[in-house]
Symmetry: C3
Subunit: 142 residues, 3 copies
């Protein structure tokens, strides 16, 4: 049984949904010798989030941003938490609708993603700055 | 410390929310001898998803489908990812609103579900085909 | 490798989003000697849920409740599961939009929360009663 844990700092990104699978896998713990285990990714913020979705067509990521802006509009009359700007409260709501953590099985040294799956960092603020994720791999090693 | 991992193929289902607890538990790894641990279920797709919800009244599953179709309608004017049909982009959004993976505590050889909890496979495509889930159980065995 | 698991009963709360980090950490398993691991929290209900969000401004929790009531209104004409009252079917939908389980990395004996992160119990029923969560900590101990 082996545990590995690293913190990965992701450079500031514009508001929207971004594919970050490669950055996470290259800069997180080494996975090659996990025969059976799990990969866990945790974002240490409440106005950005993670999700797993389509890793190919960029239009999917644009449509995600456009639809979440419809489902969670800025400037709703019932928002009371408005001091940090119109994008702040929607960012908190989107973060809870999406995910703070992801976990993916490890099989034969690799995450068992389906063909079309990738990890998204979802930046919900207009100027969110760098984001920090904790990447933990654990399981049986060869 | 013990790890067990199996891939379970779920036969094609119509669009909607389906109770699959029994299929997952019968066809996934043996759980009886885990004293303390976790059961992890991961779906290897981006247009179908998992969730835990009410395991009795079928109307709950119908209402889930009807409400998600209201929250994430087809043919929105801002969708750009339209080549795979009107049900495709909503399927991706629904998959991120719901879950790609679930985890449930194992206690005395069984998942610690509440009385009314069951695992749903949520098929968001009109013709999604078979779906593959990776089921991982890990923990202390007797 | 160490496993610890406790069930924590949370007293009845009014409908809305409630910060419960301290209750969970004080009444769940002891964490101080986990060097590297994970903390897992699972709610055994389908009409209440968990999420991680802002731990300071109470207005965030009020805005969450108000926005989820807009996104998932009561008395929709397409709801068929109505026997348990107008708040019941929306509660099931909100529970699936939010989370049944959370997991947070353990580092040097503490959950690796970001500065502003806390655990919410989201009570979606008007009179939900007490809620039970299973708290599991596992990892390498010093």
């Amino acid at each position: 049984m082996e545990w590995r844990q690293d913190t990965v700092r992701l450079a500031p990104k514009p508001r929207g949904f971004h594919l970050v699978t490669d950055q996470i896998l290259e800069r997180g713990p080494r996975l090659e010798d996990f025969q059976t285990g799990l990969l866990h990714v945790f974002i240490r913020h409440t106005s950005a989030s993670l999700t797993i979705n389509e890793n190919a067509a960029p239009a999917v990521r644009g449509d995600m941003e456009r639809h979440f802006n419809e489902m969670v509009p800025e400037n709703q009359p019932y928002y009371q938490h408005t001091v940090e700007g119109p994008d702040d409260m929607p960012a908190h709501i989107k973060a809870s609708l999406l995910d703070t953590s992801l976990s993916v099985p490890l099989q034969d040294g690799q995450p068992a993603f389906g063909t079309w799956q990738g990890i998204y960092l979802n930046e919900h603020r207009d100027n969110g700055g760098a984001r920090s994720v904790v990447v933990t791999a654990y399981g049986e090693t060869a």
